[in-house]
């Protein structure tokens, strides 16, 4: 359902992604690993439609080229990015934000707004899933949330929006084991044969809870190695240096 072909991206004159090829099929979970600064967040942002990057190549998603679409159109098609650094938005309540998001997506799909009762029932169910304190919903988006609460709020939003493709950008970073389990449980509950996930992570520990079908290593703007979940274990044991050397030797 997602086919990335020779995707390049730069900011001003700085080249960040240097030709990425990746295919994700329905029902799959792909993990993307790689050292800091290798371009993981850039890849995620380009997929979600951030316009500060100049992108070329093609990103085919459910028959459309994502690169031609606005971020909101991508969201309506089912792309969801759980941000590495969720933004605080003072003055916009989490509830109002979610309701607006859901109804904007429904509107783009030609559907009527969700009725209040259904919305509230979903909020209740999904916040329970990620063990998010219901009181947070009346607060401004992410404002004053702890690091863990912000990450769980991302997964909560994902659960509310039920995307086709969930991209998690280091959602596990900074989480303790309990929070990690909650996040993983959220993803595993949402996962089905009709959606897919890209899990960007630094550590293999999240992959003990969310079992990936494929693991890719991104380094210096390119995927330098792909494998199955064993690759993640190998990276954990040996670090990235051997791969870097391999990549640079080419």
């Amino acid at each position: 359902m997602l086919k990335i072909t020779d995707l390049k991206a730069k900011v001003e004159d700085k080249v960040i992604l240097r030709g990425i090829n990746l295919e994700v099929k329905l029902g799959e979970i792909h993990a993307i690993m790689g050292p800091n600064g290798s371009g993981k967040s850039t890849l995620a942002s380009v997929l979600a439609g951030k316009d500060s990057y100049e992108a070329e190549g093609t990103v085919e998603f459910l028959g459309q080229d994502l690169l031609d679409l606005d971020p909101e159109e991508r969201a309506a098609l089912g792309v969801f990015l759980a941000f590495q650094y969720p933004v605080e938005i003072p003055g916009v309540s989490n509830m109002n934000f979610l309701k607006t998001a859901i109804n904007s997506i429904r509107k783009q799909k030609g559907q009527d707004p969700m009725v209040a009762k259904e919305f509230l029932a979903r909020v209740k169910e999904k916040s329970a899933l990620v063990e998010l304190d219901a009181a947070l919903n009346s607060r401004s988006v992410n404002e004053g949330f702890s690091g863990g609460e912000k990450k769980r709020n991302e997964i909560f939003q994902m659960a509310m929006l039920e995307p086709k493709l969930g991209i998690l950008d280091e959602t596990d970073s900074g989480l303790d084991i309990d929070a990690l389990r909650i996040v993983a449980n959220g993803v595993n509950t949402l996962k089905n044969e009709d959606n897919a996930f890209i899990i960007i992570t630094h550590y293999q520990r999240l992959l003990d809870y969310i079992i990936p079908d494929f693991v890719h290593v991104l380094y210096n703007g390119k995927i330098i190695k792909s494998g199955d979940k064993e690759l993640a274990k190998e990276l954990e044991a040996k670090g990235y240096d051997w791969l870097k050397e391999e990549a640079e030797a080419v």
């Binding site: 003055g91 109002n96 607006t100 783009q108 939003q157």
Partner: protein
């Protein structure tokens, strides 16, 4: 300045033996000494009124408004006083509260005819008509305005809405208001300024007297055409234990200068000043505020927020003066701005001048760009760009808007704010 006087060529009631004659004569004499401000004057450094001097403004007739329903606040039961080109239109006004044991709501002219005692007692008592040139001009030139006197121990539930409309090309109007809140009274007043057609120079002057234990909330809505100029002077005197709040919302207009002066001349007072300005094109809005803490144990809180689009200019100059005797004053002041473009400008100068030693005061000013990260976050969740911008701007404005204690009015202001984004 003399030019302006000659051009407007109308010296109202002077010489007609009225109650206000002395005040008018004082103002006329003062005009001999007061100089028309230029950018060399510190208080006018960023705002030039040259265009006013060079334009020929004319007085306008009392016309019928065809847009009154737009100017009113929907679903708000209120006493509505309508002025067109500075003249009171009794026909278009609706006064619900006629019980003069509770309140007098009247045009100034009618109050003069009735020899209203409070009018003669309080008109000009703030002294602004001899100190401030535009108030002096207003005093000499005014055709009419509003007198509101709330009697002691009276709560007025329905707000009083004064709608000042201009209709015509380069119309000059000098609306003049006097509000007196008696001891232990409570009232909410709204003044809106609208252009129905064409352009105007509106030179408004309002005096407000808040007696012991009284509460007065004042809302000023400025929404004139981009060809229009407005100078708006509000001078308030607060006595012991009073609460006064003013919220000034500027959503349209070409050149707007607001002078707000509040003398907190009593103990245990609360003073709140809120402002919101949403500018675009080449609009220029200047808010000058002055809070004078004269006595002890008072609190003042000021929050002005602005969004500047295109090539617009905002000016904020807020001064809080704490006299040596005004111990235990708490004064907070804040000005926050968003510049939407590189060509928009804000001059922000919060000032504290403190002579008492036992006080808590703070002031601050921030100016930032529009939060593009937040915009992307919202769009990535499916919210279209226009709605996302609106959501963020509403959020920015919310801590000012949340202080509007009349729900219907708040709704109207929110709609205006949203409209000014497009």
């Amino acid at each position: 300045m003399e030019d302006l006087l000659l051009k407007t060529n109308d010296i109202g009631f002077v010489g007609d033996n009225s109650l206000l004659e002395n005040t008018k004569v004082e103002a006329l004499f003062a005009l001999g000494n007061l100089k028309f401000p230029t950018r060399k004057d510190e208080a006018w450094k960023y705002t030039s009124l040259k265009s006013v001097q060079n334009r020929k403004f004319v007085t306008g007739d009392l016309l019928k408004s065809d847009k009154l329903e737009d100017f009113k606040v929907a679903d708000m039961e209120a006493n509505v006083l309508v002025f067109v080109n500075g003249h009171y239109s009794e026909e278009q006004s609706t006064i619900l509260e006629n019980n003069t044991d509770k309140i007098v709501i009247s045009s100034l002219k009618a109050a003069l005819n009735d020899n209203n005692n409070e009018l003669s007692a309080y008109f000009g008592q703030t002294g602004s008509h001899t100190e401030e040139i535009f108030t002096a001009l207003n005093t000499v030139n005014t055709k009419d305005g509003v007198l509101i006197t709330v009697k002691e121990n009276t709560v007025i539930e329905q707000p009083i809405h004064i709608i000042n409309i201009t209709k015509g090309t380069d119309i000059v109007a000098h609306p003049r208001n006097l509000f007196v809140a008696g001891e232990n009274s409570m009232v909410k007043i709204i003044s809106s300024y609208e252009t129905e057609e064409g352009s105007s120079f509106t030179n408004s002057a309002t005096e407000i007297m808040v007696h012991k234990n009284a509460m007065l909330d004042y809302y000023v809505l400025q929404n004139e055409s981009v060809e229009s100029v407005q100078v708006n002077n509000v001078h308030v005197i607060q006595k012991d234990n009073t609460n006064f709040s003013i919220t000034t919302i500027t959503t349209d207009g070409g050149l707007v200068r607001n002078n707000l002066k509040i003398e907190v001349d009593g103990k245990h007072c609360e003073t709140k000043l809120y402002g919101l300005y949403f500018l675009r094109g080449t609009q220029h809005v200047d808010n000058h505020t002055y809070v004078d803490h004269i006595d002890t144990d008072c609190m003042s809180e000021e929050l002005y927020k602005g969004v500047m689009n295109d090539q617009s200019t905002g000016v904020f100059n807020g001064k809080v003066f704490v006299h040596r005797e005004a111990q235990k004053t708490n004064a907070f002041q804040s000005n926050k701005n968003i510049l939407m473009t590189d060509e928009a400008t804000i001059y922000s100068k919060p000032e504290l001048e403190i002579y008492a030693d036992d006080v808590k005061c703070s002031h601050g000013s921030t100016t930032g760009q529009f939060d593009e990260e937040a915009l992307f976050y919202l769009r990535a969740r499916g919210i279209d760009e226009t709605s996302a911008r609106k959501l963020l701007v509403d959020a920015f404005a919310s801590d000012v808007l949340n202080n509007i204690n009349i729900p219907a009015l708040k709704e109207k202001v929110e709609a205006r704010v949203d409209a000014s984004l497009n």
